[in-house]
């Protein structure tokens, strides 16, 4: 019995004992942070669909470190840094989340599945009703995507890395994933983790920004019905619109065409009345993908990976980008508020930050708290969808001009 080594039997302790103090602190901090995310998700402060699997994954990956046969420290979850085909084939037979990471996450498939589900829940008639105001707001909601670039360059990143992290301001996970893959592949994992972590935070953080920037009496403004009665848009028209706009945008920006296809195929299925497909896409596919996405993001928050010196800069820049975009969206709302003779609710501006449909929900929630009669969701969803389109436009421009 005297041959039993405690540290080999309980390898969690063993790896702690063999790690540097920085790693030990980081691992424990991330375990606590993971638990905190689960708690905040359960309380509804953060987006629970993403935060609960992410938090538990984060806690597990930092706890479940073990000694590998070659003597190094590793885990049985996944290794995001492997890219050689032979190594990948070997590791996919060992790490249980590696196949999902390789075949679904790193190529953006999981993001496309999420987009399909979102598309199946969207009503494009809101965008069709107000294209100009929605796109105008959406451009203001992209302010962080532009202003973060010079800040990031000031912090020492090159322009490609700066553009990749600035995309967090677009609040569109799949686009961030795609831009970082194209412009800064070496920072792909940390940027994606930072982006999704902060996208979860918008649910909890933006309400405070709204309350800070918009006084109660303005927040409660009830949107006026349109002066000119518009012709109603039926499902056939929406279907045709989805086909036309998907083709047109894919034609203009082939780099973002997988995302356009994913979004508008969801819309097309919804409007064509294919109930079984709709139930599948908006149910198992969307929730399954969100769950796996959350789990993978949690598992990617490994202490060794996140202790890259650039991570701290990325964390600061990510939150800066989202904050500036949120402020920009509200400023856009204020511009429309003054242009419309103080009849437009500037809270709608926050929905232009295209975190579909979270920001639209946040805007409606905040307005309802002040004035339960005010229903701004249609305008907010219109701005939200426009946000997706403008983020795709900016992705296309960044990749075309900077790569």
């Amino acid at each position: 019995m005297e041959g039993i080594d405690f540290f080999k039997l309980f390898q969690g302790f063993g790896t702690i004992a063999h790690s540097s103090p920085t790693i030990i602190i980081a691992r424990f901090s991330l375990m606590i942070l993971g638990a905190l995310l689960v708690y905040l998700g359960k309380r509804g402060v953060l987006e629970p669909l993403l935060m609960i699997p992410m938090g538990i994954g984060m806690a597990a990956i930092n706890a479940g470190v073990m000694f590998m046969p070659d003597g190094s420290m590793g885990n049985l979850f996944l290794n995001p840094m492997i890219s050689e085909p032979d190594q990948l084939m070997n590791i996919m037979q060992i790490n249980f989340l590696q196949p999902i990471y390789v075949l679904m996450f790193s190529n953006g498939l999981i993001a496309c599945f999420v987009f399909m589900g979102i598309g199946a829940m969207l009503d494009v008639s809101y965008l069709l009703d107000r294209p100009f105001s929605s796109m105008f707001l959406a451009m203001f909601g992209e302010l962080g995507t532009f202003l973060t670039i010079p800040i990031a360059v000031y912090f020492g990143l090159n322009i490609k890395e700066a553009a990749s992290i600035a995309m967090v301001g677009g609040a569109d996970g799949p686009m961030v994933l795609f831009t970082s893959l194209s412009l800064a592949k070496h920072l792909f994992v940390p940027i994606t983790v930072v982006a999704y972590l902060y996208l979860g935070l918008t649910y909890g953080g933006y309400p405070y920004l709204i309350r800070l920037m918009i006084p109660k009496h303005i927040r409660g403004i009830k949107p006026e019905p349109p002066k000119r009665k518009r012709k109603p848009v039926n499902s056939g028209m929406k279907l045709t619109f989805a086909v036309l706009i998907c083709t047109l945008l894919s034609f203009l920006f082939p780099v973002a065409s997988p995302l356009f296809l994913s979004l508008f195929v969801g819309v097309a299925i919804k409007e064509s009345g294919l109930t079984n497909l709709l139930n599948f896409i908006s149910g198992p596919l969307l929730y399954g993908s969100t769950f796996l996405l959350g789990l993978l993001l949690g598992v990617l928050c490994d202490a060794n990976l996140l202790l890259d010196p650039k991570i701290l800069i990325l964390l600061i820049l990510g939150i800066t980008a989202l904050l500036i975009s949120g402020i920009g969206g509200i400023l856009g709302g204020y511009v429309l508020y003054f242009l419309s003779g103080k009849k437009y609710n500037p809270t709608i501006g926050i929905a232009a930050v295209s975190c579909v449909p979270t920001t639209a929900k946040v805007a409606q929630k905040e307005v309802s708290k002040v004035n339960p009669q005010a229903f701004i969701l249609p305008q907010a969803i219109g701005a939200n969808i426009s946000g997706v389109i403008t983020t795709a436009i900016i992705t296309g421009i960044y990749i075309t001009l900077l790569s």
Partner: protein
């Protein structure tokens, strides 16, 4: 009026789309090539200034493209809600367009006949051209020289016979 409006607007729409597409194509290509060119130029300046300029160019370009996309969405909505395209989705509009098309056809035929009659009255020599040259020319018996539009029922009966 209604049918003429439907026909004329759709033709004008497609023509304007085409012209705008051609114009924007050149504009966008020009902007892209220009911005690339400007990028090369500003690379030689101080790094921070060049970054700011690049960011500004990208913002302006994105803003223009976003507004063009908004314009396209507006046009697509207009096109989809027009009676003619709407007839693809809606039974009521379908009947309306069919009726408009029929009225337009009859109206068009009537106008042609009126024009022909006026022409005949003003320049009878053109219509009697063969009368002077070809001495064997005989006025057809079934020519009455009067305006008499064929009724829809009779026309469809003739068409059926032809089939």
């Amino acid at each position: 009026m209604c049918c003429n409006f439907i026909y004329s607007t759709s033709k004008v729409h497609f023509l304007s789309y085409f012209i705008i597409f051609v114009c924007f194509k050149n504009l966008i290509l020009h902007l892209f090539s220009e911005s690339k060119f400007v990028f090369v130029l500003i690379n030689s300046h101080a790094p921070m200034v060049s970054i700011l300029l690049k960011t500004l160019i990208m913002f302006i370009l994105s803003f223009i493209i976003a507004m063009v996309v908004a314009l396209m969405i507006y046009w697509i909505r207009g096109l989809l809600t027009s009676v003619r395209v709407n007839s693809l989705f809606d039974e009521k509009s379908k009947t309306m367009v069919k009726r408009a098309r029929r009225i337009h056809k009859i109206h068009d035929n009537t106008l042609n006949m009126l024009a022909g009659q006026t022409e005949h009255d003003v320049h009878p020599e053109l219509f009697d051209f063969y009368k002077g040259v070809n001495k064997e020319f005989v006025q057809p018996e079934d020519y009455h020289g009067e305006l008499k539009p064929v009724s829809g029922r009779r026309r469809s009966a003739v068409n059926r016979k032809k089939l």
